[in-house]
């Protein structure tokens, strides 16, 4: 049985879902649990095609509740476990994610956003930002990477397993239907050959020795009796999450500290934004961009810096203000005026972004 799916480095032409499956293999994932929903299906298709060749496992569950909770079980057993979902499936996924959040379980969840609310479209949106960053009955103690290209899907899927197991918070790759189905080239590589060491998984239960004789039993709960008890638990989670926030938070920016207008966008929309900003800057227009790579936690300090120096933050997303809520909260009290450009469920082109920037600058 070949040990590694990818040896050396090579350029490939692929779809995004396929990239995720290969990246999970490269990251050393042991088992995927999943339930069919468009547009993430090919992650399961490719995983199930390749898994037996590399001694990996797959379980198709009865729904996303089960996909999430079996993933939790896989992690408790000490195996790198992941699932993938979208839309209404992501809604169901929030329950198991809240358990992972409460118990610091490093599950990895890939979300390929589709149109909402409800069944809506299977094609594309950025409307699962609120749910993915702060969904569930909790406080959003999770890490969310919003990717924008196949190369990033590969890089960040590998990174997500490392982040999850290093910090023990549930970790999401937030893609979308366009990224899932789109075809483009990327370099696939074996992370260890590039000097990226893979954080090992460890069992939570079923450790060596007899509990009570050789060691205390490992016992985990997420239920508490009184207000003071849960207060302490949540305070500890918040402290730990805040402590890693600046280490985990990632962003990209161009002239965000010295432009009149700074365009803020995440995920695939940031590609159009970069293109527009580069063209406008070539024409001498005072514009920059700020792209959060992690939507949770946000790179708050850098964002606030931009929001204090710019006259306008133009918030661009394929949703009705879901990223904007995160940005406004983080940049509360900053000087810049926040102007929305929301196209829920629609793709956004560089031309549209450029036109909006020009109209703002008069």
């Amino acid at each position: 049985m070949p040990e590694k799916p990818i040896k050396g480095e090579k350029r490939y032409f692929m779809t995004g879902n396929e990239v995720v499956a290969y990246a999970a293999l490269a990251a050393g994932a042991d088992i995927m649990y999943g339930y069919p929903i468009t547009p993430q299906n090919e992650i399961m298709h490719y995983w199930t095609r390749m898994a037996p060749k590399y001694g990996k496992n797959f379980l198709q569950t009865e729904d996303e509740l089960s996909a999430g909770f079996t993933t939790v079980g896989g992690v408790l057993a000490g195996r790198k476990s992941f699932t993938a979902t979208a839309g209404p499936g992501n809604t169901l996924m929030q329950e198991p994610v809240s358990m992972a959040e409460a118990m610091r379980l490093p599950i990895v969840v890939v979300v390929q956003q589709r149109g909402g609310p409800s069944t809506a479209t299977v094609i594309y949106s950025q409307q699962e930002v609120t749910m993915t960053t702060i969904g569930g009955n909790g406080e959003g103690f999770r890490i969310v990477y919003s990717t924008s290209s196949h190369q990033e899907l590969f890089d960040y899927t590998i990174k997500a397993f490392n982040t999850a197991w290093k910090y023990r918070f549930p970790t999401f790759i937030l893609g979308d239907g366009y990224q899932a189905k789109m075809r483009e080239s990327l370099t696939m590589y074996d992370p260890e050959e590039r000097g990226i060491s893979l954080v090992p998984a460890e069992p939570y239960v079923g450790k060596p020795g007899t509990p009570g004789t050789d060691r205390p039993p490992e016992q985990y709960r997420n239920t508490y009796n009184v207000e003071e008890e849960i207060y302490e638990v949540v305070q500890n989670l918040a402290r730990d999450f805040n402590a890693i926030a600046s280490e985990v938070a990632e962003y990209e920016s161009l002239a965000a500290d010295r432009s009149e207008v700074v365009v803020v966008a995440h995920g695939v929309v940031s590609r159009a934004v970069k293109e527009a900003v580069n063209e406008l800057r070539e024409a001498g227009i005072s514009v920059g961009y700020f792209r959060p790579v992690t939507l949770r936690p946000l790179a708050e300090k850098e964002l606030r810096e931009a929001a204090d120096k710019a006259r306008v933050l133009l918030l661009v997303e394929s949703a009705h203000g879901q990223m904007a809520r995160l940005i406004k909260e983080a940049a509360y009290g900053c000087k810049a005026e926040m102007i929305p450009f929301f196209k829920p469920g629609m793709g956004i082109t560089a031309e549209e972004v450029a036109a909006r920037v020009k109209s703002i600058l008069g």
């Binding site: 195996r79 358990m99 079923g206 007899t210 009570g212 004789t213 039993p217 709960r221």
Partner: protein
């Protein structure tokens, strides 16, 4: 003369006395389970998962690695665990609401896939921890907080026949039984067989246990035992419902 406490070795002494109400059946079920774990010598590789509802009070009951999950979700957590590490012995412990209502899709599908896990479901005919509401297992005519005039089967259906359902949808190799806290010795035997069946790799093993809830039933000791022994057994038949066939030797 010292008294020998009949406490299974796998029980965690520092969390005793346990928190279940006086007269509650959970202690008896967990004793039977503890004895079965002791006799099989699996304390080091058993993983115990408990649900929400009164069952969660057992989250630190055993000297066994344990996970308290969400309401109805113990079956998928233990399924995921067992799939990821088949060397463990996965035990999912839940009540009738968790198994037959909110988590019924998980029970049905885990059974249909013949997941190699053991599910122990405690049937006390109502939701104990949320305050005595009607459950899928509430008896016809039984008064609960959400059936104050007695359960009317015309309006709310008949009690779920869980083991019969599981027996109907599982493959050969599955083990299905209904025990009762009124017969602890038999119950221990059922639970032990269920665990042995998992260890042998035969597949899904399911034991429903008729149990008591004097607190919500508002019954004294005599009425409690009368209800579990006389009333519940009118509807829920105790015994083994599906037993794996002896393996045929090759060539026969």
């Amino acid at each position: 003369m010292s008294v020998q406490l009949a406490m299974p070795k796998s029980w965690r002494i520092d969390t005793k006395p346990h928190k279940f109400c006086p007269g509650c059946g959970h202690g008896l079920v967990l004793k039977a389970l503890g004895q079965a774990i002791d006799e099989l010598g699996i304390q080091d590789r058993a993983v115990y998962g408990c649900d929400i509802g009164c069952s969660l009070l057992s989250w630190d009951f055993f000297n066994v690695d344990s996970i308290q999950t969400h309401h109805g979700r113990t079956t998928p957590v233990i399924t995921g665990l067992k799939r990821a590490n088949p060397d463990l012995v996965g035990i999912a412990y839940m009540g009738d609401g968790g198994g037959y209502a909110i988590g019924s899709q998980h029970l049905v599908n885990a059974a249909a896939r013949n997941e190699n896990i053991t599910v122990i479901l405690v049937n006390n005919t109502q939701y104990g921890m949320t305050g005595g509401q009607m459950a899928p297992t509430t008896m016809p005519g039984q008064k609960t907080e959400t059936s104050p005039y007695g359960r009317d089967p015309q309006k709310t259906g008949y009690p779920t026949q869980g083991p019969e359902m599981v027996a109907a949808i599982t493959r050969e190799g599955a083990y299905v039984a209904r025990g009762t806290v009124a017969n602890p010795k038999q119950l221990k035997g059922f639970i032990k067989k269920a665990l042995e069946n998992q260890i042998a790799g035969n597949g899904f093993s399911f034991v429903e246990v008729l149990s008591t809830c004097p607190t919500n039933w508002r019954t004294n000791a005599e009425e409690t035992w009368k209800f579990v022994e006389k009333e519940m057994t009118k509807y829920f038949k105790v015994g083994e419902i599906k037993v794996p066939e002896p393996r045929h030797e090759e060539g026969k």
